[in-house]
Amino acid sequence: MTLPLLDVQDFSLEFRTRSGTVRALQNVNLRIAKGEIVGLVGESGSGKSVLSYAMLGISDAAAKVTGGRAMFGAQDLLTLDEKTLADLRGREISMIFQSPRTALNPIRPVGLQIEDVLRRHAVAARGRTGPDAGLGLRERAIQALREVAIADPERRWAAYPFEMSGGMCQRVMIAIALACRPSLLIADEPTTGLDVTTQAAVMDLITGLARERGMATLFITHDLGLAADYCDRIVVMHAGHAVEAAPTKALFAAPRHPYTARLMSSTPNAGSTLASLEPVPGNLPDLRRDDLPACRFSERCQRVTDTCRKAPPVLSPDDSHAVACWHPLMEAAGV
Amino acid sequence: MSETTKHIKHVLSENPVTLVAAALFAFFVLVAIFGPWLAPYDPLASDTVTALKPPSLQHWFGTDALGRDILSRTLVATRLDLGIAVSAVVLSFAIGISLGLAAGYFGGWWDIGVIRLADTIMAFPLFVLAMGIVAALGNTVGNIVLATAIINLPFYVRVARAETNVRRSAGFIEAARLSGNSDLRILAVHLFPNILPPAMVQVSLNMGWAILNAAGLSFIGLGVRPPTPEWGILVAEGAQFIVSGEWWVSFFPGAVLMLAVFSFNLLGDALRDIFDPRKRT
């Protein structure tokens, strides 16, 4: 099997806060293959963003990695020093965020913000061959704007974020992230807050560029429907655990984890009625507790047994349809 | 334990400096009340034999040019300084809050007029304006209080107006009116209590500033006249001796003044942390 681009193994992380230690992530396994678009789905507070921040090394100061590795190629991201990490950020691994307008420097022209990243990773940019080779910084920045389908890029180079719509700001952020042609893009809820048509346009842009460049994408969202439309594979997270990972079609055809199933029945789609929607019962457990059950879904699950509370279920990343559950759902037709 | 009490305890335990500030504040209030009885000597009694003596066991803060005990004068001055500051702040609070409430509540010309007034006051360097007011109205302690009250008006006006506006745009006032409350009732029973927390923070922060103002005015010769003991005057009396080395005449009153202002400011910060943690810096 080819080496995955990103291989997160047994990753655990906690936050030291005034009100206790929050065990935000526990034994998370996640694999992304080269050029693959993976959706990371879960409720707010499930640890999706925390995981990605930790990969890039931009976690909050109170965060502490307590175990595991994050292999990017041959390097363990968690052991790299700040300088090496900074070299990787923006060049090999990029990230885009939600609320695009506040995520851009309000008093700096967007073209300059793209140039800042280009200048920073100048070696890589200069080294690339292809249509960009030989262009100056400003031309490259304008080219980057053109690639994200921003009309009149020469004029837009000098624009400020406040002069642009939310959708355009998100395109600029994508331009910044993709300027140095990274091999992995982490998109943290990039369409939250945008209207539906803009959402589709932005998602089409991201996935289009990803396919074109063979760039892997980790697409973080709470919107299962959106993930279904754009991702090759989906990883479901719950309360700091990765509970299921499968190719999109297989996941939706036959979800194995009780949580995934409940998530699906609470997500509206065309044809569902209000009555047919069922919320997931209960709430996320308080991750500061010392007495957390081994499976963190057990308190909300109808299939719970004693084993679930004592022994942690493990998601085995080698399975194509992996699940972390002692009593996974089985397709009646036999899987 | 109610939420507020829990929060207060949390703030107090977080920052022991707050306890210190509260203790200092209590100390100054006590000295203000009991000053004359605590003073070992008569603050006005001069004794030229013991003039300009450095701090000693008989005179902890030393003596001034007329042989008066500086400790006694400083202690007694507490009452006057605090008295001026408190009167000025109370006056400022009463008028400022009323004007601000009216501006936010009635809007229209009230709002425009009150804002104009506040802005015009703030168009001056405030200490200079206080000088001008005292010079115009006459050189008395009452006018010091009045001048200090006037220059502090804008703070209270703005706090009251801002809080009222927030509630107004939240529909709070409309709702109260629709339920049949009279204007006065809304103002007094609904709006005023909500304004109190930020206003109290302002009061505490203002007290320190009011003391500094009053002392500053006396230092340049306005308001309180010698031989009445007042911190600013005491420092002024000692100013000429600094260059010849008799430091204690100015130092102790000045240090006590600074301590008083400091404790009020700390208290104000603590109150702000209790009532509005968002504004912490």
């Binding site: 900074a86 920073r120 990773h121 | 168009a123 100013a239 000045g254 910060d269 810096t281």
Partner: protein, 339 residues
């Protein structure tokens, strides 16, 4: 852009008008007979009547106001009883002394407070952070007259490093030929290095006193602003793009953080103009503040009122300047942000 500047100028007008109105009220609101105050304590009843007619104090209040404003436009701020000179002229002669000290103090204060605030924000919990917090809390409690006297005691009396607090120049020297009125600049232009150094030495203590006073609000605002900006979304994006620490801190964080600090400067000027009065008294500095105090002690009211008016106008203009500066450096305003 010009429209914006014009708008700001217009916005400052009501404040100017307010300043004039209040000063007028102060002039005419004296208890008792204003004419007697302006004529002086030793004036005869006939002299008082003459002053009354001269100043138009026998007319109605609105008429008096127009007379007053008319006089202001002609440059008539009244005449000092003690010196017999026109107040405006004396104010203008003494203004450079105050301006020099205030400007120098601002420069000194900023050069300490800005780095202090920035470092405190970038290294929270460090000793620099604690120092910054101490400075800001203690700084606002400092009575300027007390600090001035303490500094004079320590640096002049004890250490002998600073000269006697006797004014702008040691009497041995005569002032440089007047170009700007600011001795440091005129001294440089005149080429006399001994004179320049003497003037500089006299400036140290009063400047330091004022700088200590305004350090606090500037450092506090810088630290708060920097802290807020450092935790903002766009700084996170910058870091996630791998930009170097220096780039993130300076080009992204600091430039944004400085904007609120500029608006603080307006307020800071107010403190400085107010405290300059006290500092001038402590150090015998021949500026407009000590002019007003001397007049006050001599019950000479015209200079005091002229002083209050001049300070009010100066403050409004300074605020306008700060406003314009901010308008120019924040593209969201100069280009007109749409909501």
């Amino acid at each position: 852009m010009l429209k914006l500047i014009a708008k700001r100028l217009l916005a400052a007008l009501p404040n100017l008008v307010g300043v004039v109105i209040i000063t007028f009220m102060l002039t005419r609101a004296l208890p008792g007979d204003p004419a007697a105050y302006f004529a002086g304590g030793a004036a005869t009843p006939e002299a008082v009547e003459q002053v009354r007619k001269q100043l138009g104090l026998d007319r109605s209040l609105p008429e008096q106001f127009f007379l007053y404003v008319g006089g202001l436009f002609r440059g008539d701020f009244g005449t000092s009883l003690t010196t017999g000179q026109p107040v405006l002229q004396e104010l203008l002669t003494r203004l450079p002394a105050s301006v020099e000290m205030v400007l120098l103090a601002l420069v000194v204060a900023c050069s300490i407070a800005l780095p202090l605030g920035v470092m405190a924000a970038t290294k929270p919990g460090s000793w620099i952070d604690q120092l910054c917090r101490l400075v800001t809390t203690a700084g606002v409690s400092l009575p300027t007259f007390f600090t001035g006297l303490l500094l004079a005691y320590v640096f002049y009396f004890l250490l002998g490093w600073a000269p006697a607090p006797l004014g702008r120049l040691d009497p041995v020297f005569s002032p440089p030929p007047t170009v700007t009125g600011l001795y440091l600049i005129d001294g440089l232009l005149g080429g006399d290095s001994g004179l320049w150094w003497a003037a500089f030495k006299q400036l140290i203590l009063p400047t330091l006193t004022m700088a200590l006073f305004v350090l606090a609000p500037i450092a506090r605002m810088t630290r708060a602003s920097m802290l807020q900006v450092l935790s903002s979304d766009f700084v996170r994006t910058a870091r996630a793009s791998g930009l170097s620490n220096t780039t993130v801190r300076v080009r992204y964080a600091l430039r944004n953080a400085l904007l609120p600090v500029v608006t603080t400067l307006g307020m800071v000027f107010g403190f400085m103009l107010g405290s300059s009065v006290i500092i001038e008294k402590v150090f015998g500095w021949p500026g407009v503040g000590s002019y007003a105090i001397d007049a006050l002690t001599a019950s000479d009211y015209a200079p005091v009122q002229g002083f209050v008016l001049a300070m009010g106008v100066l403050f409004v203009l300074l605020n306008l300047l700060v406003d314009l500066l901010y308008t120019l450096i924040d593209p969201r305003i100069s280009l007109g942000a749409s909501s």
